[in-house]
């Protein structure tokens, strides 16, 4: 159902007639995104079953407020998106107008001394990184890619990131935030006129704003926000040049005090020990476990699938690595001075030895040597999301965040067996990887783990096999870890065959009935229920449930 002409006109008066459209061709492009073919809302196709009513491109906080107020007045639902990567960024129900925040793209302030930057929703990680690196600072880009929105990640969705080991989770890097509430009122988190913190006197609203996973568009619109920045020991510019076997671009010069160390471990216990010790010694700039040989390549991108196949699979290199490397870790050491650098390397080497780690020759000699030193940093700093899409599709299973022990206890099942079965069927990518991604935060104060693999989004059989593989994986976990309900972290992850709301309902009872608390908050903040709640709370399914 299209918007009534007078309502369309009213919106056009707010944003200007060139910044609104209800043309079917334009709307069509707001029904398609990553994982749609997986998602209950769309499967098995790529398109949502419903169109938004219109797409609006507001250019300021005032325009956003005016739109939201109008939505309240006329009972129209809205959904805000920043760069829009993932099913969660699209309307989850019919009758919604989309606020594409693309025109709000300024970096408003970089406070070098106090180490924070204030950004609008469409500032990307790459843009922020380019500006702060010049000032000796760094940020915490997420694997969603350097083209994704900083503010969306801070406020509305997740926050796990490659540099979390020294930079922390982005939920904790969110400082002062400007928030257009679902009623259209403006709320500023943190002291008036200040951005250095998201808390002021009184109870903290940061938890209400995002909690663990963010409200994913269900709690109004965030229009400005400050992000904590971190120290950058490197040069003011990272120059790259074409070349290399895998990534299209190589680091021209390796920063003086940077090194990548890649030990592997026979058991989870050894690996955890390693993570703890490196954390205690505050040694690593970035630190993760990647699920085996191929997955590491996917961090680095590929000049072409053909070349990757010929150079790494046909030669048996990957198979050799997969054979020898269990629990492969990647650690970035990045120091300010030669002395500090030598110290960090020395202590790291001691810890590797002490925890039973092995640094395999295959990683330090031959083709891998250059890849580790010149290409891996480009991939890590450059953070191109497309590096993970070389089979045309990439999906993550349930994820879990906690201490090393709790994460391994809940998640540490032999994933390679489950995945192996499907990989052998030829319907998902048989890359030789165990597919476990494990990322450390705040010097290992907590970690995050997920399983991920690659499929072909253009092939329904492959999509189906991936769904079944994920289902196997969840069931296996449920079986082995009785009482544990996976899928804690990502509302787009895991039980794809269920609607997002159903997933929330299923998880809620296992996690303190968070869904009911969210629902209370939702009703208090959004009395007219206009901020599209499809990915938040439990309201769509608990309409008749009385929540006191």
């Amino acid at each position: 159902m299209a918007l009534a002409p007078h309502i369309y006109k009213m919106f056009a008066n707010i944003v200007g007639s060139v910044n609104i459209s209800d043309d079917p061709a334009i709307l069509e492009t707001y029904t398609f995104t990553w994982l749609n073919e997986f998602n209950n809302l769309c499967a098995p196709g790529k398109f949502l079953p419903h169109h938004p009513e219109a797409v609006l491109l507001p250019g300021s906080t005032e325009e956003v407020q005016a739109i939201v107020r109008a939505c309240n007045r006329y009972g129209i639902k809205f959904k805000a998106l920043s760069t829009g990567y993932g099913s969660h960024s699209l309307p989850g129900q019919p009758g919604v107008v989309v606020l594409d925040l693309r025109r709000m793209d300024r970096i408003l302030e970089i406070d070098e001394k106090n180490k924070f930057a204030v950004v609008e929703p469409y500032v990307t990680w790459a843009q922020l990184e380019a500006e702060v690196i010049k000032r000796g600072l760094f940020t915490t880009p997420v694997q969603a890619g350097s083209q994704a929105s900083v503010l969306a990640n801070l406020t509305s969705g997740w926050g796990m990131n490659t540099f979390g080991n020294h930079g922390g989770h982005n939920g904790r890097n969110a400082l002062g935030i400007e928030w257009v509430l679902p009623t259209g009122d403006l709320l500023k988190l943190g002291p008036p006129g200040e951005w250095f913190t998201g808390d002021g006197p009184g109870p903290s609203l940061r938890g209400v704003m995002r909690g663990h996973c963010g409200a994913q568009g269900g709690m109004g619109v965030f229009t400005k926000g400050a992000i904590k920045l971190h120290h950058w020991p490197g040069p003011p510019k990272l120059e790259t040049e074409p070349g290399g076997m895998m990534t299209a671009y190589l680091l021209k010069e390796i920063p003086e005090f940077l090194e990548i160390v890649a030990p592997c471990f026979d058991t989870y216990e050894q690996m955890i020990d390693f993570f703890y010790q490196v954390g205690d010694a505050e040694l690593a700039y970035a630190m993760m476990r990647v699920g085996g040989a191929e997955h590491m390549f996917s961090l680095m991108g590929a000049i072409s699938n053909k070349e990757m196949y010929e150079q790494f699979y046909s030669t048996g290199l990957v198979q050799a690595m997969a054979e020898e490397m269990k629990h492969p870790c990647t650690v970035m050491i990045f120091a300010n001075s030669r002395r500090e650098f030598e110290y960090r390397k020395k202590v790291m080497s001691e810890i590797v030895k002490e925890t039973g780690g092995k640094i395999l020759e295959v990683m330090t000699e031959g083709p891998m040597k250059d890849i580790m030193m010149k290409q891996m940093p480009v991939a890590l700093f450059g953070n191109c999301t497309l590096f993970i899409h070389h089979a045309g599709g990439f999906v993550i299973s349930s994820g879990y965040m906690g201490t090393n022990e709790s994460v391994v206890r809940h998640m540490g099942i032999p994933q390679e067996e489950i995945k192996g079965k499907w990989a052998k069927s030829g319907k998902i990518l048989d890359d030789g990887a165990d597919s476990t991604y494990y990322n450390s935060f705040e010097n290992n104060a907590y970690v995050y783990m997920e399983m991920e693999f690659h499929y072909d989004a253009s092939n329904p059989e492959s999509v189906n096999a991936s769904r079944q593989c994920l289902s196997d994986e969840r069931n296996q976990r449920r079986l082995e870890k009785s009482g544990f309900e996976p899928n804690d972290i990502g509302l787009t992850c895991g039980d794809y065959e269920k609607s997002p709301q159903q997933r929330i309902m299923d998880m809620g009872p296992h996690y303190g009935n968070f869904h009911l608390w969210q629902e209370r908050i939702k009703r208090a903040f959004d009395p007219n229920d206009v901020s599209d709640r499809s990915w938040y709370g439990a309201g769509l399914l608990t309409k008749d449930v009385k929540i006191k």
């Binding site: 459209s21 079917p24 061709a25 334009i26 492009t29 707001y30 398609f32 995104t33 990553w34 073919e37 790529k46 398109f47 491109l57 760069t83 829009g84 990567y85 693309r102 970096i107 990307t124 790459a126 843009q127 990184e129 380019a130 500006e131 880009p141 890619g145 350097s146 083209q147 510019k237 120059e239 790259t240 074409p242 990534t247 299209a248 680091l251 991108g301 072409s304 699938n305 053909k306 196949y309 699979y313 700093f381 450059g382 191109c384 999301t385 497309l386 993970i388 899409h389 070389h390 089979a391 045309g392 599709g393 030829g426 319907k427 048989d430 890359d431 072909d456 989004a457 092939n459 492959s462």
Partner: protein, 426 residues
């Protein structure tokens, strides 16, 4: 050849938005000059990005939408500059540019209502006059009056100088052809032209999707060049160069000649000591990489959806992956650096990830506002280098720069690289 061949590429788009930007943080140098795609930079709705057009194409194939004035507006509000293709290919093997082009062929073939009036008139001009400017054929030789140039309709030479419609027919641009011929003569090059018999390269037909006219003209041109027995076809127009070098091979007949842009050829002459830039030209300049001399001149072989799988589901397209890295980037810079007194200041977006001037893909004629906004952005980037002059090697870029400078009261000047070289050569 059909749009449906690329359905898998459309379905594999993840809508990540990388195609809107200069890819990966280490290529991108600032917040200000981070954009890569002129179309989305102006119009903002996702539909205008390359991903948006892929989604629309898929939707069309699935019968969810049909051709409409809006679809055509979106499709042709795109300079076909190819930046999106590079950005996406930093991490995938996906075909983007080929899809955008095939989409235009499909639209053009599906009926006259899909054809924009300015494009129809250019195509008609090529058909009737063999040039894009509706000029009589005989005028093609006006620029060469008084110059000693072989007529290859009568004589043999090693090099065919393919002048191009704009350099031979646009009174303001003829000087570039003239300066080039003067330099060739100075260097003792054995060259000639086809005079009034030169035919348009058919780039505009190719760009707007008139595949029939493109194939016909390209085939005729290849046959003519082969018959001349020349070793090289040299052109000063980046548009002609990009098309002949990178797109003619897909037409079929074997090309028995090398294709060069005149700036490459002049660079070789300087290196061989046949031209000696010695007079000082004191100026701070910046160099603009034209899309069709740069990333779009890298020879592209379309996959037409052909692929096979390895490792279960990893698609292999058995064609070279083209990321524009083999474009002509160093020769113009080397020529400029060989001129004493010139100070070359680089823009942030350069070489294969240069920002388009805004003129290509039929945009200048059909959507001048997009052409204008895009060129203003480039002028701003040029100004930020501190340069006083912007140098290019393409008539379309130069003309659009002139328009942009006039419209924005900019103090910048625009010249062709050959204008500077001739000042310096004794």
């Amino acid at each position: 050849m059909a749009l449906v061949d690329y359905k898998k590429d459309m379905m594999r788009c993840v809508r990540c938005s990388t195609c809107k930007f200069i890819p990966i943080s280490s290529l991108l140098k600032s917040w200000r000059f981070a954009q890569g795609c002129p179309a989305i930079a102006k119009h903002n709705f996702h539909a205008f990005s390359a991903s948006g057009k892929l989604i629309m194409a898929l939707s069309l194939l699935e019968g969810r939408i049909g051709y409409s004035p809006k679809v055509i507006e979106i499709l042709y509000n795109c300079t076909l500059c190819g930046m999106c293709d590079l950005s996406c290919k930093v991490g995938t093997d996906q075909e983007l540019w080929e899809v955008l082009h095939e989409f235009r062929i499909d639209a053009w073939q599906k009926g006259e209502k899909n054809r924009l009036a300015p494009h129809v008139s250019i195509v008609e001009s090529i058909k009737s006059y063999d040039n894009v400017w509706m000029q009589p054929r005989r005028k093609r030789t006006d620029w060469a009056k008084g110059l000693k140039i072989k007529d290859l309709n009568q004589e043999k030479a090693e090099v065919l100088y393919f002048v191009g419609c704009t350099y031979s027919l646009d009174p303001e641009m003829r000087r570039v052809a003239k300066n080039t011929a003067v330099l060739f003569n100075k260097a003792g090059v054995d060259f000639g032209t086809l005079g009034a018999n030169e035919k348009c390269c058919a780039s505009p037909a190719f760009m707007v999707g008139d595949e029939e006219l493109f194939v016909k003209t390209a085939t005729e041109n290849i046959n003519t060049f082969n018959q001349l027995g020349v070793k090289k076809v040299v052109t000063s127009c980046a548009g002609c160069f990009g098309l002949i070098k990178s797109k003619y091979p897909r037409v079929g007949p074997e090309m028995k000649f090398e294709v060069q842009h005149s700036i490459e050829f002049l660079n070789e002459l300087i290196k061989a000591g046949k031209l000696k830039p010695s007079k000082e030209v004191s100026m701070a300049i910046t160099y603009h990489d034209p899309c069709h001399l740069g990333r779009m001149s890298d020879t592209r072989i379309p996959s037409h959806g052909k692929e096979y799988y390895v490792l279960g589901t990893m698609p292999i397209k058995d064609i070279p992956k083209v990321m524009g890295m083999n474009g002509i980037y160093d020769p113009p810079r080397e020529v400029l650096r060989s001129i004493p007194g010139l100070k070359l200041l680089e823009m942030e977006r350069r070489r294969e990830y240069s920002w388009c001037c805004g003129s290509g893909g039929g945009v200048k004629s059909a959507y001048p506002e997009l052409a204008m906004d895009t060129v203003k952005e480039r002028l701003e980037e040029a100004r930020a280098t501190g340069a006083e002059t912007i140098v290019s090697c393409c008539p379309w870029c130069e003309k659009n720069f002139e328009d942009g400078i006039r419209a924005s009261d900019s103090e910048l000047k625009v010249v062709d690289a050959v204008d500077l070289l001739i000042q310096s050569v004794e």
